[in-house]
Amino acid sequence: MNFVYLSIVVLIALGLYAVLTKKNLIKIVIGISIIESAVNLFLVVLGYVEGGVAPIYTLAPSEKMVLPTPQALTLTSIVIGVAVTALMLALAVNYFNKYGSLDVRSRRLMK
């Protein structure tokens, strides 16, 4: 189990590294997606029961089910993530069309 939490921390660090240092808008979006995956992984792991089955009535042979709530949370978070990523990419496309570059340093605000 600890291995999973370690990988969550590593993934968040990787994502933050991308957001903090990469100058390409698409790479920043990728960094955010990595953080999001890490957080989703964290939520799913919370509900994990060793040897448990999917929390569905028809398939339940025993009392051992994984918790359904974290899965619902993760699903919601994934749906929101799709919308956010799509919006970020759309804005990046527009940025590229108007500025001719995907580099964050070609900004025109706050100079």
Partner: protein
């Protein structure tokens, strides 16, 4: 209390303020009429004295020309703060991470 609020030390009442303001304005107006009735209305003496420069009336003072003295006086402060506003998104998140680290240490220690 409909009009006023208690501030803990005193009270604030906008209506009383407005009435007092009105009365004081009338007094000042009457005094000015009495005191300045002998002042010159036209001629050289009525004009403002602009350090001996020609009086300019048709010129607009634009925004950039205002408060240069203030920004000059605080130059060492502005030289630090304004370059910190890079406009690069990485730096925005960088500040978030820095503040998060500081607050985390504060909260965990105390």
């Amino acid at each position: 209390m409909v009009f006023g609020i208690e501030t803990g030390v005193g009270t604030w009442n906008a209506i009383i303020f407005a009435v007092a303001f009105f009365i004081v304005s009338i007094v000042v107006y009457i005094l000015s009429r009495l005191l300045f009735s002998g002042a010159h209305k036209e001629g050289e003496q009525a004009k403002p004295f602009l350090s001996g420069n020609e009086e300019v009336t048709k010129q607009h003072v634009a925004a950039s020309n205002l408060y240069w003295g203030f920004t000059r006086a605080l130059k060492s402060y502005y030289d630090v703060v304004i370059p910190a506003h890079t406009g690069i998104i990485n730096d925005y998140i960088g500040w978030f991470v820095i503040v998060l680290a500081i607050v985390l240490i504060l909260v965990e220690v105390f």
